[in-house]
Amino acid sequence: MTAVLEVSNLSKHYGGIAAVDGVTFEVFEGEILGIIGPNGSGKSTLFNCILGQASPSAGEVKLDGKPVTGMRPCDLNRHGVGRTFQMLQVFPALSVRENLILAGQEHQGTAVGRLFGRADAGLSATVERMIEFFRLTPVADLRAGGLSFGQQKLLDCAMAFMAGPRLVLLDEPAGGVNPTMLGSLGERLRALNAEHRATFVVIEHNMEFVMSLCTRILVLAEGKIIAEGPPEQVRRDPKVIEAYLGN
């Protein structure tokens, strides 16, 4: 197994507080890695440091063995790293189709080509496949802002996959999604993983969802990794139970 992403000794301090404290882990090609942990354990900060949204105080991030620490988010995305955010982040004024074109266009051709070329940046076929794959066909021409929460969540994920990334970091994909929609979201993610060998890192609070989806799980508490392993093992780990139930 080859490591797609290597995170070594990553730390992020805010004033005197360490939100992330010397975290080291690897993400292997084709796996679905879950990251869980109580509120405020540093999961989102960890994502932000990996993805260039925040600059880490110490440590290194490597993508395919090449250092990418502090790389701008847009450049990282063009190196094949997609992401979703904890809060919904679709563009409400654009239609579903337009949202998807936007998510793919920067990976097509040159800047000058995007100015003088086709308005859809030649992405229509990919967009149609995505719409079908995420079952958004009935709403494809509606404003994204008018969609139901679950549909927006699907669109959010679809946007992260538009450019065919090798690695996708999902921040709480299940948050606020109703059980029916959650089932189809999990199924779609597993399908992407199986069909396209896409690698995932998933932050999640919904234990049932994360245990059924992920092949391996990291547990974060107070900025440090306290446990790591397959879902069954992590579920029984006394340290994890203590961190969640707290003192």
Binding site: Q89, F91, Q105, A119, M162
Partner: protein, 319 residues
């Protein structure tokens, strides 16, 4: 093609024809005011790209118009043909915009407002003080209207028609940008720059381009302005002109394609009709702008948009 789909292009065509015929019922003074409207609209279209579509506040659009006007006046006096000065004015302002925006946008977006504010004031000082180049407070007079491909634009009506053609061309250019992937990227970085960056949108470069292209269009407007008035001095290019252009875009409706047309109409034509009110006009105008901003921040086009399509909340954004 349904009738509905023909409505918008039809209305635009009718508008262009009406504008082209308008000078025939007007005296020279009226025609020159219409020309001023066309040129101001071009400058506002450029700023709308920066402010309305990409969400960046520039307080230097008036200065770019000034730079374009002076560049054209100076180069034409040296015998450079108008076509070349028009192009050079646009390119010069594009380059200055790029150089100015680069350091400001590196930091935080509202810094562009401060840098452009400082730049507009500096540009005015240069216009006023560099007598060897700009004629200082006496300005440059006797700017001649060009002969374009054998068409003499010296008569008031001909020059207005030329400005109208330029307005159509610039509008077409901006329409093209707005509907291209660039336009989508501009909108994305205005609405949510963090998400845009996570989708590979190089927000810094796009912001810079939106500002520099807007500045370049300001330069083109300036190049058209100089022969329109045939005499330029520093006064019209003071900071207040930049502020005025900004308010035009906001009043018309930032981010709406036809916003600048409406905004410029209110700022250029209305004072002419309300001349009796003089100074009071500006007081009332500023007050009206504040009321508009509080209640309808999307401007007049925003109000029209809502009135025309009230029952269609799910329509894809057509602005």
């Amino acid at each position: 093609m349904t009738l509905q789909r023909l409505a918008v292009p039809g209305a635009i065509l009718a508008g262009i024809i009406a504008l082209a015929l308008a000078p025939y019922g007007l005296k020279n003074y009226g025609i020159s005011i219409l020309g001023l409207w066309a040129v101001t609209t071009i400058a506002a279209i450029g700023l709308n790209l920066t402010l309305g579509y990409a969400g960046q506040v520039s307080l230097a659009q008036g200065a770019f118009v000034g730079i374009g006007a002076y560049a054209t006046a100076i180069l034409m006096a040296k015998g450079v043909p108008f076509g070349a000065t028009l192009l050079l004015s646009g390119l010069l302002c594009f380059a200055i915009g790029w150089l100015l925006g680069y350091p400001a946008l590196r930091v935080q977006h509202h810094y562009l407002a401060f840098v452009t504010l400082a730049f507009a004031t500096l540009a005015f000082l240069v216009f006023r003080n560099e007598q060897w180049l700009t004629g200082g407070i006496y300005g440059i007079s006797g700017i001649r209207r060009p002969v374009i491909l054998g068409w003499n634009t010296a008569p008031e009506r001909a020059y207005f028609h030329f400005c109208l053609i330029m307005l159509v061309l610039v509008s077409g250019f901006v329409w093209w940008i707005v509907r291209s992937p660039w336009g989508r990227a501009f909108l994305a970085l205005r609405e949510n720059p963090v998400r845009a960056a996570s989708l590979g949108v190089d927000t810094r470069r796009y912001t810079l381009m939106a500002f520099a292209i807007g500045a370049g269009i300001g330069g083109v407007a300036g190049a058209l302005y100089a022969p329109l008035v045939t005499y330029i001095d520093p006064v019209p290019f003071a900071l207040s002109f930049s502020l005025n252009l900004l308010l035009m875009v906001i009043v018309g409706g930032g981010g709406y394609f036809f916003g600048p047309f409406v905004g410029a109409m209110i700022a250029v034509l209305l004072p002419e009709w309300l001349r009796f009110a003089q100074g009071l006009y500006l007081v009332a105008y500023a007050a009206a702008v504040m009321v508009l901003l509080v209640f309808w921040p999307s401007g007049i086009m925003g109000i029209l948009d809502r009135l025309l399509r009230p029952a269609d909340p799910n329509q894809g954004a057509a602005r």
